[in-house]
């Protein structure tokens, strides 16, 4: 076990170094793109704790991201008692508020399993965009709220995009570390026990209600932080910034990254961003095939490709990128540790 710990720690250090060094080699625009990938990554870590580890399905995580984003918008634009809060400090508050919302959803979720939970959380995802429309004085309605453009604090000499990159990935690494500590410890074991058999877990003294609700809260906290960063980077929020389909995309990212592979989720996050923003590239690749002629700019293309990727991944690689990596490198690393 000890050597496995070293392996994971050195892997984490390598990742941190790569993250720190990367902006030197890429353009400002790419830094912005990678910042957004980092936001999806944060949300996916949360979703992985909930779905991968505790086995509860959520098709409503886009709504928790939206709660985070709107919290940031309200705090930094409306302010509290007319006192506007700097966007940086709204991030933890956004996480906590989304986390509280998650706990709130987690309570009824205790009594709903599998498909019912999927349906209810999907309902949350679909219902949420109605709220800003209803409370339009406070939340800005369909037009939304405009935030100040993100700028580096303390007079740091870096571009706004680079700043967002460092901010997002800094937070992502901290939260990744926290998630890693969480899932390898007592909580992680309890969650996995619940996922594998609720009855067995309860018989062994795992408090189902506590851990399942906790998983929802933590996972929503991650989504809230991601949503807050997303709002800051976009500098505006409206219902279309957090569309219903976002919740589905997050599940896609989770499936592609691997349900319980924290680092593998980076691949999932990258895919979400890539397919949303570069679907025309993919369409051009597909057009290389004979007898196909897709218009790369057509609006249905991303959704179609997402669908195909999702089905193919589930049919061929049910363990996602993380599982594939484990299988590829497993033979090299298993002699360091036994499989848990």
């Amino acid at each position: 076990m000890r050597s496995r710990l070293w392996l994971e720690l050195s892997g984490f250090t390598l990742l941190a170094l790569a993250v720190a060094a990367l902006p030197r080699f890429i353009s400002d625009f790419r830094a912005r793109e990678l910042a957004i990938v980092g936001m999806y990554f944060i949300a996916l870590i949360g979703l992985s704790i909930l779905t991968g580890y505790s086995g509860q399905i959520s098709l409503g995580h886009g709504a928790f991201m939206a709660i985070g984003g709107y919290t940031t918008a309200v705090l930094s634009v409306n302010g509290v008692y007319g006192h506007q809060i700097r966007d940086l400090w709204t991030i933890p508050i956004a996480g906590v508020i989304a986390g509280l919302a998650g706990l709130l959803v987690g309570v009824p979720a205790l009594r709903l399993s599998g498909l019912y939970l999927a349906l209810i959380t999907f309902g949350i995802a679909v219902s949420f965009p109605q709220l800003p429309k209803k409370f339009d004085h406070f939340l800005g309605g369909t037009t939304g709220k405009i935030l100040d453009l993100a700028k580096p604090p303390f007079g740091l000499a870096t571009t706004p995009n680079n700043w967002m990159y460092y901010l997002t990935w800094g937070i992502a690494l901290v939260l990744l570390g926290a998630a890693w500590l969480l899932v390898r410890g007592k909580t992680g074991r309890a969650l996995k026990a619940i996922r594998d058999s609720e009855v067995a877990a309860a018989s062994s003294g795992v408090k189902l209600a506590t851990y399942k609700t906790l998983a929802f809260g933590i996972s929503a906290f991650y989504a809230g932080v991601a949503g807050s960063l997303y709002a800051i980077a976009n500098a505006y929020v409206n219902p279309d910034v957090f569309p219903i389909i976002l919740s589905v995309y997050l599940v896609v990212g989770l499936a592609v990254g691997g349900l319980e592979s924290l680092v593998g989720l980076i691949a999932g996050a990258g895919l979400i961003y890539f397919l949303q923003n570069h679907a025309d590239t993919v369409a051009r690749w597909i057009n290389q095939l004979p007898a196909l002629n897709l218009d790369p700019k057509q609006p249905g293309i991303p959704s179609m490709i997402f669908g195909v990727v999702l089905i193919v991944v589930m049919l061929l690689l049910p363990t996602g990128a993380g599982g594939v990596a484990r299988r590829l490198f497993g033979s090299l690393t298993t002699r360091f540790y036994t499989r848990s």
Binding site: T51, G55, I57, L59, P108, R111, L112, G114, L115, Y116, A118, L119, I120, F122, G123, I124, V126, S127, Q130, L131, K133, K134, V199, S203, I244, I245, V248, V251, V252, A255, L259, L294, Q298, P299, G300, I301, P302, S303, M304, I305, F306, G307, V308, V309, L310, I311, M314, L315, P318
Partner: protein, 300 residues
């Protein structure tokens, strides 16, 4: 919190509209329940499948076919499509965990949605239904012929389906395969094909629901998204494994939501969906199996 002057005639009209809405939800909810009963899968692609077949109907009618000529053709295509989807996409993950199956049907929904945009474009289209929108006077309440037609078709469909499940050998085989696959296999029922048949029937139900709702709203690739959610709510309300429950749940939901939207000012038209969600959430907490459903007892 009454928003406008209350009249009995208007209440009756709202009720009629609610029943019409409810009939549509019931149709789609029935499709969801059929698939759930036969395969224990919730089909998140049900709405997209319905819209897709409605687009096929639209294309056929655009090529000069009348609605009632196109109707059986579309149903046949829907049936074949449903069977094919089960065979190709769902079969390989038959024994996989719930999450995998949910993800696969979500993938299917995305794929079909994208495909519709690519083939037919994202614009709204007018779909001319079989019934006129002229209103007739029923006991002093003006109700459109279209509404009556939609309810009649939905009710007819439910009756047909009930007869099929009760009085035909195939219906019995379908039920048997769902309740006890092992024993059914032993008496010679081809369980795998029964599952595919279940998908086929569900696709047909969806196609009917789609062709009924399309004249009321406009036809576009996302037409069924909210309706599907209400249908899920209706299915859960009635109990996921009860066809009668799906119909009762659908009508009940349609009426409740319409009345809430009309008479409770706070809910209005924007909060209808969250209201429906709260409704099922509360019901599920009180009766976890829905109104007509059975609760599985877990054995330790």
């Amino acid at each position: 919190m009454l928003v406008a002057a209350f009249t009995w005639a208007e209440l009756a009209q709202q009720l009629a509209a609610g029943i019409r809405e409810g009939a549509i939800y019931a149709g789609l909810a029935l499709a969801i329940v059929i698939i759930y009963r036969t395969t224990r899968v919730i089909n998140f692609a049900q709405g997209e499948m319905a819209t897709f077949t409605t687009f096929i109907a639209w294309s056929l009618m655009n090529h000069g076919l009348s609605f009632w000529t196109a109707f059986p053709v579309v149903l046949a295509i829907a049936f074949a499509g449903g069977v094919a989807i089960e065979r190709v996409v769902l079969r390989p993950v038959e024994n996989a965990p719930v999450l995998t199956i949910v993800i696969v049907t979500l993938g299917l929904a995305l794929l079909l949605n994208g495909l519709m945009s690519v083939i037919w474009g994202g614009a709204n289209r007018q779909f001319h239904g079989p019934f006129s929108t002229r209103t007739i006077d029923v006991g002093g309440v003006p109700i459109s012929v279209q509404d009556i037609g939609i309810v009649a078709v939905s009710v007819g469909l439910v009756v047909l389906l009930a007869l099929f499940f009760r009085f035909t050998k195939l219906g019995l085989a379908l039920r048997a395969a769902a309740v006890n696959p092992e024993s059914s296999r032993l008496v010679g029922i081809r369980v795998g094909w029964m599952l595919a048949l279940g998908w086929g029937i569900a696709a047909v139900l969806g196609a009917v629901a789609g062709m009924m709702i399309a004249p009321v709203v406009f036809l576009d690739p996302n037409m069924m998204q909210t309706i599907l959610l209400y249908a899920f709510a209706a299915a859960v309300l009635g109990g996921l494994d009860s066809p009668i429950g799906a119909v009762v749940g659908g009508i009940l939901l349609g009426v409740t939501i319409t009345l809430l939207g009309r008479y409770v000012g706070f809910i209005g038209s924007t909060l209808k969906l969250p209201a429906a969600l709260m409704l099922i959430l509360v019901l599920l907490l009180v009766r976890p199996g829905g109104l007509f459903g059975r609760v599985a007892v877990r054995r330790v």
